[in-house]
């Protein structure tokens, strides 16, 4: 969705067109949920984070907040809400409930099917096994495609720290997931 369409939809929402909110956010919900799930490792908490982000988005739009690029803004909101919950939940050690997660099967051939499923399983497992600090930067950088400076701002850390966490996360992934041919190296920005 281009910026102009986003702007028009936000104007329509402010005029009371409820359908426009659905049009604006529906394409973003799946990625938001998956990002949140990766950070929180909990389907329940991920749903909660997305719900909070949706309400916050609607509130910001109707109150006239200047949002230049909604997609990017929403990515930052979902990251913030997920991290908020992660920080709050961490002392309770309550956040692993992805046992029932079923990964969709979209492979083209039986062989492809087996290989893809195995690869996806191992990669998701490996990322979920990382500690929160490293998991968050990996997901925000590679899946949400936020910039280093945006991640630094979100996490309230220096850009160098973000790079360092990315480096160490990739090092771990390359050890426990060599099949992906991931190589640990400094992230170029």
């Amino acid at each position: 969705m281009d910026m102009e369409t986003e702007r028009r939809l936000m104007d329509d929402i402010r005029q009371g067109d409820q359908e426009s909110f659905r049009t604006l956010v529906n394409p973003l919900i799946a990625q938001a949920y998956r990002t949140s799930l990766a950070i929180l490792r909990s389907t329940h908490l991920a749903e909660e984070a997305v719900q909070n982000a949706l309400v916050e988005s609607y509130s910001a739009i109707v109150k006239g907040k200047e949002i230049r690029r909604f997609r990017g803004w929403f990515s930052r909101v979902i990251a913030s809400r997920s991290l908020d919950i992660a920080r709050k939940e961490q002392p309770n050690k309550y956040s692993v409930d992805i046992d029932g997660l079923e990964i969709c099967d979209e492979a083209a051939s039986p062989l492809d099917d087996v290989l893809k499923k195995e690869q996806c399983e191992r990669l998701i497992e490996s990322i979920m096994a990382l500690e929160l600090q490293q998991r968050a930067v990996i997901v925000l950088y590679y899946f949400e495609e936020l910039r280093i400076e945006e991640i630094a701002l979100l996490l309230n850390i220096r850009e160098g720290t973000v790079k360092s966490r990315l480096y160490h996360a990739r090092s771990k992934l390359s050890r426990i997931f060599p099949a992906s041919r991931i190589q640990a190296q400094e992230v170029g920005v």
Binding site: F21, V62, R81, I85, V96, G100, D105, Q119
Partner: protein
């Protein structure tokens, strides 16, 4: 940078296979209407000085239910099997294993295992719909409960159905929504689908205190049938009645917050593929 590209591609391909709950799309549909109705007022107001906590006022963690049982740490713990047996859902014959799994997901099973069920369930029926409210927990600032719904009026299994039920406390002010939904089948031989919605309401400050101080002993949940018309871009709410829950204040624990007495279980590996 090849490894950079591979990392990004692999991660995106893997994550895009994770299914997304339909309930989130329905929630997005409801946000404008519920915002206009004032459901989210306290949560959506920005509060720069305590921004994080203000946002948490909308849907706090399900951990609250688990924390509730902490006061029983020195008490007798029922065996999970017995607790499940005595804590079936009235009016619904549902597989105990499934129910236990759902309760483990949201922390309620720990409370059940410790025999902590402070508010008794209640069932209402209207038209072709039967609703049981169970697993009800009231803290100083939160109300959590589960709704088990069976209906011949609408398809409870269809997450995209234009019709669904909304259950809102009418004598405790607060904002909230469903936080999870599951579909099961009855085990009475008819294999009828049963929808289970978990609700969580963040209550206004002093709402519970005032409720108790006023001497009320009944918590009333209003049930509405919500029909969304996507062409007309509006939803209509039809009042279908209320569920009255008897509150015995002697049974309610007050917020004694301790670490939940449940082990931290890693559940890797994730199951991949169709079941």
């Amino acid at each position: 940078m090849r490894s950079e590209y591979e990392m990004k591609r692999s991660l995106q391909e893997s994550f895009e296979r994770i299914p997304v709950p339909e309930s989130l799309y329905r929630f997005a549909d409801e946000v404008p209407g519920r915002f206009a109705a004032g459901d989210f007022t306290s949560a959506a107001e920005p509060a720069p000085a305590s921004r994080r906590s203000a946002r948490f006022k909308l849907f706090k963690s399900v951990a609250a239910a688990a924390i509730l049982v902490s006061a029983f740490s020195a008490g007798v713990t029922m065996s999970p099997a017995f607790a499940s047996l005595v804590k079936e859902v009235p009016g619904f014959e549902i597989a105990v294993d499934w129910l236990t799994h759902v309760r483990q997901q949201d922390g309620v099973q720990t409370a059940v295992d410790h025999g902590y069920t402070p508010i008794e369930p209640a069932t209402v029926r209207f038209d072709g719909t039967s609703i049981t409210i169970d697993d009800i927990y009231l803290t100083d600032d939160e109300l959590l409960f589960k709704a088990f719904i069976r209906s011949t009026d609408y398809d409870v299994t269809d997450g995209r159905s234009p019709v669904h039920l909304s259950i809102v406390p009418s004598n405790l002010r607060g904002g909230g929504s469903t936080t999870a939904s599951y579909i099961a089948e009855t085990t009475d031989g008819s294999s009828q689908p049963v929808r289970q919605d978990t609700y969580k309401y963040q209550l206004e400050e002093n709402a519970v205190h005032n409720f108790m101080a006023s001497g009320q002993t009944e918590l009333v949940l209003q049930v509405s049938k919500v029909t969304s018309d996507h062409e007309l871009k509006r939803s209509t709410y039809e009042d279908k009645g209320s569920v009255v829950l008897t509150v015995d204040r002697q049974k309610l624990l007050h917020n004694i917050v301790m670490e939940p007495h449940q082990s931290f279980r890693s559940r890797y590996p994730i199951r991949i593929g169709k079941s």
